[in-house]
Chain length 110, copies 2
Amino acid sequence: MVMQSLQLDRVFRALGDPTRRAMLGRLSRQEHTVGELAEPFKMSLAAASKHIKTLEQAGLVRRTVRGRTHYCQLNPQPLADANDWLRSYERLWTKRLAALEAFLRHPEKE
Amino acid sequence: MVMQSLQLDRVFRALGDPTRRAMLGRLSRQEHTVGELAEPFKMSLAAASKHIKTLEQAGLVRRTVRGRTHYCQLNPQPLADANDWLRSYERLWTKRLAALEAFLRHPEKE
DNA sequence: CGATTGCATAACCATATGGTTGAATATATC
DNA sequence: GATATATTCAACCATATGGTTATGCAATCG
């Protein structure tokens, strides 16, 4: 059930680019063609196409080809896996937030 | 309150490497010196030092210098920020998981 | 003082990444 | 069949990344 390390590498690296995160944002609302996904950016279609390929290899995007048009949809599973990895650190940041809250409530104790 | 896009880039990219994730894992349990963090890996100290610098620039590691020794500790805040970003997609994967569960319970309906 | 330790920095190398343009491919349209 | 559309692919370029070894430097040890 646990995600392979190499696949987690691909997911986190795919998320480490603002163009790709923006594409995922649009796909979270609706399916889009490659052309539609590329349109908001001022890079070439070929460059956008490479970003989509990166997302696909990370498992974040599924592609369906109908005729000459490629339809992309978001596959949220790798996001859930990345979230699982992050959540194993959750107690650390909640502990810190709790300490911050306590301080804001009773600064004299610090 | 929202994390800068560029900082989110740095955090996700920092997480996209197994050496750095392993370092964070150790730091989640205990503070460590640069030498201690480097020791488990079969790369040079200089290479490990660069990874630590990357983590530091992503805000994930804080360094305290005492004498000639550098002590590193985990700062979980950027992990919380990355988690916040991911959680904005949560409804998508829970919806999908719910559908899968429903199917496993009543396969005939599919 | 001299040697050793803990670490950063510099120079270098190979490969990856993110972009470009131009050509190829397949499907639609006239 | 000819042309237009949707997209990939190939070649190329600049910069980033992840590694190396060698060097430097401050702090500690003997």
